[in-house]
Amino acid sequence: METINEFLDLWGADLWTSTIQTFQMVGISLAISILIGLPLGVLLVLTRPGKALGNKYVYNVLNVIINVIRSVPFIILLFFILPFTKFIVGTSIGVKGVIVPLVVYTAPYIARLMESALLEVDRGVIEAYEAMGIKTRHIIWYVLIRESRSSIVLGLTIATIGLIGATAMAGLVGGGGLGDLAYRYGHLRYEVDVMYITVILLIILVQGLQSLGNYLAAKLKKD
């Protein structure tokens, strides 16, 4: 008991700040990535050759861009797009500076995950709605996205966990967070206790997220 209190007195504030930073980075970049990735995923599905708005060029261009970005490891992307980051948010350091690379990293991933989720939707249902004279944008929302919502939740869970992993490297540009804490104190200063605690916190976070994702997905699935 003594040691726990001592530990908390010593590290509690740092752990708390780092956790908040991680949540901030993950939350904000996830929200922006969904706003970009979901429409991109829809576009990928719609422009796929042979589909509703089949357009080889749009599809192929999107495809290549997504693949290129997805082949760059996050740590390299982080430095590679520094000028771009500075241009967009005016700074390339701190939580603010790390959001841009996190979004660039995550949005294409989400687009891919959304694409595969949306492709599972039965073509026949979409046709039934076309046959009833329903507008395309309504079909996208009420049929495509609604019917794949369970897969979408699972995809977003995977993306979020990937994002947590990526935030660990955000410390390199001063973004802070749990990963940074573990690295700075655990590795550089050899305070193993702090390292263990942060790792345990990360494990709990990832486990919790995956369970929540699985639970929601199962609940949303009706077949």
């Binding site: 026949g124 039934a128 009833m132 019917e147 077949d223």
Partner: protein, 345 residues
């Protein structure tokens, strides 16, 4: 009501072009139940999908209620489509929505207000007899129940035309009967014109006023169901009709029987016109009729029977007897022995 003229549709397949429809014309009158039958790949689905332009024909005109659909703007086409209901072999319901929502959602999306939506859903769920299931999800329903939901969904837009793409093909025989009865009821009580496609002759037999037979992207025969049943012309049509009346008599036996007389199929309408006529034949002429096989089925409005008989006697007497039978409204066709199957032709 539905007027298809000169419809042509070619797909680009992996092994060159596929001519799914070659200059097909079809005319369905108001209030009719019109069936298109054909084997798999004949082009039936492509044809019915051209009616609401789910498939755009390469050439030809599609008129529904005298409106040329191919000339409409996307917005006008959506309006026109809401007057054309459609049901499918695969039901095509939202898995994530209850029965109620499956019907209510498309209604809401076409801009109807909540009270109207509620009224419509209740009304059409009652018509298809599924009101007690309105909070169930499709995965909790049987195939027949799913199709009832799909029918209610189509009807809830109060269309004048209903298209059915093999709506009973995924169902067992009893459920098929029940769904066909429902389609008949919809046609009679709501006055909805139905165009359906199928590969099963019993669907045509049970509910269709008219039928077109398709093969290789063409309509090869067309007419009133009763005419198609009594005197099918094309060999494919004959195979479809015979799929209901299969008098499987060995070739050898037919050859022998033909030596001592004449084997013929007699087709007749009404429960009892066949056998009494045959009894009269044996009285009036010097002929021994012998029934080899026979069956009676129900067409939409009347019963239809077929007898395979051996008329034993001199050919001149047989000729007179056949003439007499025709006067009694019995349709007589001779039996030839075909090479590839021993069915009555």
């Amino acid at each position: 009501m539905i007027e298809l003229t000169g419809i042509t549709k070619t797909f680009t397949g992996k092994q060159g072009p596929i001519h799914a429809l070659k200059d097909v014309s079809l005319s369905v009158k108001q209030g009719e139940i019109y069936g298109v039958i054909g084997y798999s790949g004949a082009g039936k689905s492509t044809l019915i999908r051209c009616v609401n332009l789910l498939e755009a024909p390469d050439q030809g005109s599609v008129k529904v209620k005298d409106v040329e659909l191919t000339a409409l703007s996307p917005r006008k086409l959506r309006e026109a489509r809401s007057n054309i209901g459609m049901i499918f072999q695969g039901f095509n319901l939202l898995k994530t929505a209850t029965v109620y929502d499956n019907i209510a959602l498309p209604l809401k999306l076409t801009g109807l207000n909540k009270t109207v939506v509620k009224e419509r859903v209740e009304k059409y769920l009652n018509i298809v007899g599924l009101n007690e299931k309105k909070n169930a999800y499709p995965s909790e329903l049987s195939g027949g129940q799913k199709q009832r939901v799909a029918i209610a969904r189509a009807l809830s837009h109060e269309p004048e035309v209903l298209l059915s793409d093999e709506a009973t093909s995924a169902l067992d025989p009893d459920t098929t009967e029940a769904i066909l009865d429902l389609l008949l009821k919809i046609n009679k009580e709501l006055g909805i014109t139905i165009l359906l496609i199928t590969h099963e002759m019993n669907v045509i037999q049970r509910i269709c006023d008219k039928v077109a037979v398709m093969e290789n992207g063409e309509v090869i025969e067309e007419g009133k169901t009763k005419d198609i049943f009594t005197s099918p012309q094309h060999s494919t049509t004959k195979r479809f009709v015979n799929s209901l009346f299969s008098h499987d008599i060995p070739d050898e036996m037919l050859t022998n029987l033909n030596k001592t007389g004449h084997v013929a199929t007699l087709s007749f309408f009404g429960e009892s016109s066949g056998e009494p006529a045959l009894a009269l034949v044996s009285k009036k002429f010097d002929i021994f009729p012998n029934i080899l096989s026979g069956s009676i089925t129900r067409l939409k409005d009347e019963s239809f029977g077929q007898l395979l008989v051996h008329l034993k006697g001199e050919s001149s007497e047989i000729k007179n007897a056949v003439q007499f039978l025709k006067e009694q409204d019995v349709h007589v066709e001779g039996v030839k022995i075909s090479g590839d199957n021993q069915r009555v032709s």
